[in-house]
């Protein structure tokens, strides 16, 4: 049995498999399918300072090997989370990472400060890449100065692990990554969804109430892999790879390209057991390839 542990900032994950924010609720629903102790961590649904009802229905459209969503960060706000949800999930035998969203830099800072009081949150993931709202908004994630400013401001109030989630809707993700690194991030997670759209030809209307939404699933995997690879070439911070990971092979591709860990998102909708199957599959791959530690495959792509 190979050693599957990986390190992201100050966190040690028992294995590189985590679940992506917005695709695993607060972990409780998944606990009906498997023991959360079998995966490395859970990135909970995006939190905001105030409760949010999210966007109107319809909020999703199936696309070729993927889907669009325009959920828009529906959540009951940080205080409800602190009072009602956190107590129920804090003793899961895995890392609970909060996904932090704001519409101003102060929002991000305030939210991080409130999370500071929750002992069992070892890391936050700054979402500066949500295409569906102003809060958590992509506006921060698509320009270097704003990405840098929000990261720097949160860094000042948050000592635990700080992960910044990058938007793929940019000309060059390396620029943003370097700006965020320079501002004090401990790790990157990438990618969030790509801005997309679906049309109902019969009704002659957009499928989503918000017209555009975020594209996820295997359709975006080649783009996500490329971005992880690009960022790994320019930065030494750990990367959490996200985008269309459906099985262990996909996860290994991301790790070879440079990811230290991965998030499983949309795959959960199709197979709630995907995260555990992926963790197992990575273990089998390592044994088959004669590796004793998962770290041996991180960034191990041969390009000569």
């Amino acid at each position: 049995m190979a050693d599957l542990r990986v390190t992201i900032g100050q966190m040690e994950l028992r294995n590189p498999v985590t679940t992506a924010s917005g695709t695993c609720g607060f972990g409780e629903e998944l606990a009906e399918f498997f023991d959360p102790g079998r995966i490395g961590g859970i990135f909970v649904k995006g939190l905001t300072l105030k409760p949010r009802e999210g966007n109107p229905y319809p909020r999703m459209a199936e696309t070729a090997s993927g889907m669009l969503n325009s959920v828009g960060l529906q959540n009951k706000g940080i205080d409800y989370f602190t009072e009602h949800i956190y107590p129920r999930i804090k003793d899961f035998d895995t890392h609970i990472i909060a996904n932090v969203n704001g519409s101003t830099i102060e929002d991000y800072v305030d939210l991080s400060e409130k999370l500071n009081r929750l002992e069992k949150i070892p890391a936050i993931e700054l979402n500066i890449s949500c295409p569906n709202v102003r809060e958590g908004g992509m506006a921060f994630g698509i320009s270097c100065p704003s990405a840098s400013a929000v990261t720097r401001a949160v860094r000042e109030v948050w000592d635990r692990t700080l992960i910044v989630k990058l938007s793929p809707n940019v000309t060059d993700i390396r620029d943003i990554a370097l700006a965020v690194e320079e501002a004090g991030a401990d790790a990157f997670s990438l990618i969030n969804t790509l801005l997309g759209m679906a049309v109902d030809a019969e009704k002659r209307r957009p499928v989503l109430a918000t017209i555009t939404g975020g594209l996820s699933g295997p359709a975006i995997k080649p783009i996500a892999l490329r971005m992880v690879w690009q960022v790994a070439q320019v930065s030494r911070l750990p990367i959490i790879g996200i985008g269309g990971i459906m099985n262990a092979t996909d996860a290994i591709e991301f790790m070879l390209a440079g990811a230290s860990a991965i998030q499983v998102g949309t795959a959960i909708f199709i197979d709630p057991l995907a995260p555990v199957k992926i963790a197992e599959g990575i273990g089998e791959y390592l044994v088959r390839h004669g590796c004793s530690k998962v770290s041996e495959i991180i960034g191990a792509l041969r390009v000569d």
Binding site: Y57, P58, T63, D271
Partner: protein
């Protein structure tokens, strides 16, 4: 715990050109299924179906470990599912969702349109068990859309409307003469079908001043509460249809039907 299981197709029975019964052999014991609950079926033989599709349980044979679904072919997923062969497997997640509230007594009206008849066999069984009287009102475009009447008639009277008048009374379900009965003999209405139909039925329940439960068929990405895609506006804010529903008392919905 919820189950994720590969089930073997034992039979596919086409009822008309568009609808079929899908019968599955389940490997393990079937848990108690409440009327209105559903499963998420994976359709693995299609190049363009990505997500699972939700279907209510039509019936369950606990003894023989069989699940039966009533499926209307409306798009690619329901088409490809119907092209599978006995012996092939499909993967299902179940049981999902809440269920209809079954009263202890009374006399209920059950209104189904299109694929919206699916949850009502289990409901009929449950009501019969409790000794609650029931009448089914089934609506369709034409006579060939009115299906499984022999099954429903085991539990109660079956009334029919068709838009073209080829079977039963002509018109929409809410045009049926049963709604003119005075006094109105029912203590509750259940409805499932296209949303305009459910809204019309809900409006009737309002007029008659009796409770109404509807089973919503919102678009779902997951079916078990993690994606927040399937929401409906309620008096308590946006709620997930897959976990807080699919069955809702219409007084919780913001349909403004009683205005």
């Amino acid at each position: 715990m919820k189950r994720i299981q590969d089930c073997t197709i034992s039979k596919i029975t086409w009822l008309n050109t568009d609808s079929y019964l899908l019968e599955l052999d389940v490997p393990d014991e079937i848990p108690v299924l409440a009327p209105g609950q559903f499963a998420e079926i994976r359709i693995g033989n299609s190049p363009d179906v990505f997500l699972r599709r939700p279907f209510s349980f039509l019936d369950a044979d606990v003894e023989n470990r069989k699940l039966v679904f009533f499926i209307k072919r409306i798009g690619k997923g329901t088409r490809h599912l119907g092209e599978l062969h006995p012996g092939e497997t499909v993967n299902i997640i179940y049981p999902l969702g809440n269920h209809f509230q079954v009263p202890e007594k009374g006399n209920v009206l059950i209104v189904g349109g299109g694929s919206g008849i699916a949850p009502f066999i289990l409901l009929g069984k449950e009501l019969q068990k409790k000794g609650v009287g029931m009448t089914f009102l089934l609506g369709g475009k034409a006579g060939s859309d009115i299906l499984l009447t022999d099954r429903f008639s085991q539990y109660g009277d079956v009334l029919i409307t068709t838009e073209d008048g080829s079977k039963g009374e002509k018109g929409m379900v809410t045009d049926h003469s049963v709604f003119t009965s005075d006094p109105f003999p029912f203590t509750m209405i259940y409805a499932c079908g296209p949303e305009p139909m459910m809204k019309a039925v809900a409006r009737m329940s309002c007029l008659k001043n009796i409770p109404c439960e509807v089973s919503l068929e919102n678009l779902m990405a997951c079916g078990f509460g993690v994606c927040l895609c399937c929401i409906v506006e309620t008096t308590e804010g946006n709620l997930c249809v897959c976990t807080e529903g699919p069955v809702f008392n219409t007084n919780r919905l913001k349909w403004q039907i009683c205005a």
